[in-house]
Amino acid sequence: MQDSTRWRRVRRRLRYWRSRSERNRLLWEEMEFHIDSMTEELVAQGMAEREARAAAYRRFGNMTQTSEDARSTWIARWISDLVQDLRQSFRGMRRDAGFTVFTVLIAGLGIGASSTVFSVVNAMLLRPLPFRDPGRLVFISNGDQNTAIQTEHYSDLREMNRSFSDLAAWSGFYFPGDKELTGAGEPERLTSVPVTGNLFSVLGVQPAIGRSFTAQECQGKYSAPPAMLLSYGFWQRRFASDPRVVGRTLTLNNRPVTMVGVLPASFDFASVFAPGIPVDVFVPWPLNDPNKPSGNTLKVVGRLKPGATVQGAEAELTVLAKHLEQQHPERNPIGPRLMPLAERVSGRVVPPLFVLACAVGVVMLIVCANLSNLQLARLSGRQKEIAMRAALGAGRSRLLRQMLTESVALSSCGAVLGLVLAVVGTRELAHLQAFNLPLLESIRIDGKALLFTLLTAVGSGVLFGIAPAWRVSTLSFSEELQDASRGSSGGRRHAWVRNSLVVSELAFACILLVGAGLLIRSFLRVLEVNPGFQPERAAALRIDPSFRTSGFAQQNSFIDNVLHRARSAPGILAAGITDMLPLRDDRSWAVPAAGKVYEKGHAPEAYIRVVSDGYFEAAGIPLRQGRDFTERDRATSDKVVVVNETMARTLWPGEDPLGKMIRTDGGRRVIGVVADVRHTALEAAGGLEAYLPMRQTGDYAAMQLVARTALPPDTLARELRTALRPVDPNLPVREFQSFQDLVDKAVSPRRFLVMLLTGFAAFALILASLGIYAVISFSVSQRVQEIGIRMALGASAIDLQSGIVLRTLGLAAAGLGLGMAAARALSSVVGSMLFGVTTGDPVTFIAIGTLLTVVAAVAGYIPAWRASRIDPMIALRSN
């Protein structure tokens, strides 16, 4: 009952509000009728018509006041005030179109940048991983963060532990394009990840269509998986999202494989675990097949039981591992290291994201300082208007509120622009496939980002409006109204506010520029790094034969054939085959030197590459000593190996490595030494490397034909395709990888950071220079008379200009001093991301200092130049 009347009142209020202008008109008509009636009565009492009307109006009192009071019963007062303020603001915006466009543009760029960075942080750090209850998922590695776990250890740990409800694993031993799809349609190389049957249930992922692997399917052979699950992306691409493909059979590496299911779109294995390498299908990892890859192959995740902690689980697994090592001395050493899965996935992006978030925050501060300054400058032109409003009865709090409404309205317009920029920006970022950053594909503007944008808009509006608003509410009104001159005292009294805003802008810009400068210099240093191979004009093409090679004879004739044809193709300078591409693939073996004794588990480990003759020349890896492989290094000849310089130095310090033996792979003799190649990253030295001749082994997962060419890459692909067609007409040749791409991909996270940070720093520099320019030209415009007098008294243009420029440089020096000190103190934030430069790199600091000084001098010189062209007579006459 009570509720229904309340509800009716709300509805009535809304109705009144909608028809408010009509209702207002009617209210006035009603009041006028009242006054007419009063007048008539007075006339009837014998008063003259005019006097009667005046008396009636007097009796009635302030009609506007009454109507406002009456109206306020249906419109809450503050809403009407807000509407009024907003209308006022928009009127002001129209009047000062230039100012408005500038403000909205700057605020929009700032807010757009903030929202974009927020979306990145949100996708990579804030949003939970796309799995069920991801907080209880733990990544388990072996000894260090990157080493995988042996299958046997995995099985035993899974049996014995009590901390986890289950463990699951996928094989770290998979490579892009290691399965060949033939038969239906165009042949294609697929990337398949072998997983334990329970991986999806441990992660909490249900196939969108079909089912997961059965226990029986997980007992098959590694070389011939009976079943596979399709990734959503592959299913869409290859089968146009046809649900009927489930249950059908495909030919992978010449063996039939049944498609048992399709994983949901939300499960993007690649973007979480192996950014940059899209995964097409999942196959079962046969735990018990003796012919599967051995060694440390499994990447393990576990789901903690409720109540179990990461530390507790690590302690338990460590004890179990000790026990296992004693029981099974034949196995590899194991030392479980646990880490929450989320940390494992995005841990390494935390420092750069932190830097980006700080940078964008600084940009926003500069934006606010700049806009605040603009508002203040604009205010001095509006002093009369404001004083008038105050005189007409606007209270101080009302004026303060109006100013804040105005700035928030401006920043909100900016936010609309910013949101558009952020939507475009996030879409661009999400499609940067060349960047191997985790969860990049999931970057988008979501509800949280919208809320963030709204808060930024209001926050920045209040922040940049607070100084002008405060200024308005403390204006001495009578003084302003009396003061007829332009150079009012108020302007000068508050010059320090504007000056300090400019100084802080410069200081912030300085911090950003130093940060960006240090990272740019690091980036250039990284690009200068000699990777050990020559990426220019080298490219790799996957050429594994579609038939199974059944023995060394068949394999080697295939290799001979391929190399022969590739080398005779036009434009090919050198060609060779490898199983691993630098900066992308790796595997390592223990490589004990013959005749030396190592502690168990402490034999040196080397990256193993299986290559043919000509590979070193094609990849541009210089031979330091001895000889390259030749066609004569075959299965029947002496077993040989080529090592890199680090390996030679580590195994045989101070000795000649040529002719020495290693015990690996049945014993191999060193015939040559090549230069070191950087494998994991350009920033990190490569470590030990051993190259085995491809014609002497079958233990490799891929055949990459590497060619050095004088041709552009597109032409090269075509030429090689034509040349190789007679060898194997089914050769899928989609995957063509230039070595330059490998390098680009390896530096992409760094490039990503440098790109964004440089953009922010450039924006900050522009804003700061605009800030200086605005303040100096404002102070010049306020001093026109003074300048006129000086010039009339004989001051030269040079004197004037140097005076103004010196003042500018004074401000710049203050900003630079503060900024440099702060930058020096804060530069340790980027310390972990630097390469080849120190946090106090003098070159960067000096360059940034010079840049800012020059920019400040130019920004100050333009108003100075204009001032010196003032005609003294006009200046003096103008007031």
């Binding site: 009071d69 009456a70 019963t73």
Partner: protein, 112 residues
Amino acid sequence: MGTEKAKSDLLPGTLDMLVLKVLMRGHLHGYAIAQLIRQLSDDLLQVEEGSLYPALQRLELNGWIEGEWGLSANNRRARFYKLTADGRKHLAQESARYRKVTGAVARIMGFA
């Protein structure tokens, strides 16, 4: 959200009550309401126009009266108000409350 309260009056809500009571006599426009209150109180109570019109808006918003446009005695457009059923109920409550309050005041003051 409570009902809108009068801002300043003899006693809070008195003007509202008087307006409602006067409207018991039928459809009246604002001027007539003010006149009637004055006449009925023997010129003792002067309704200020400044509070009459806000009061009318308030009463209408609360659903106690309804306004509609009609023609006045001298054929001019005027807004006539009439009491609604809710308004009658509210008037009864208010007069009971008012009687209690004035009675109490009178007892304190020793009038009764």
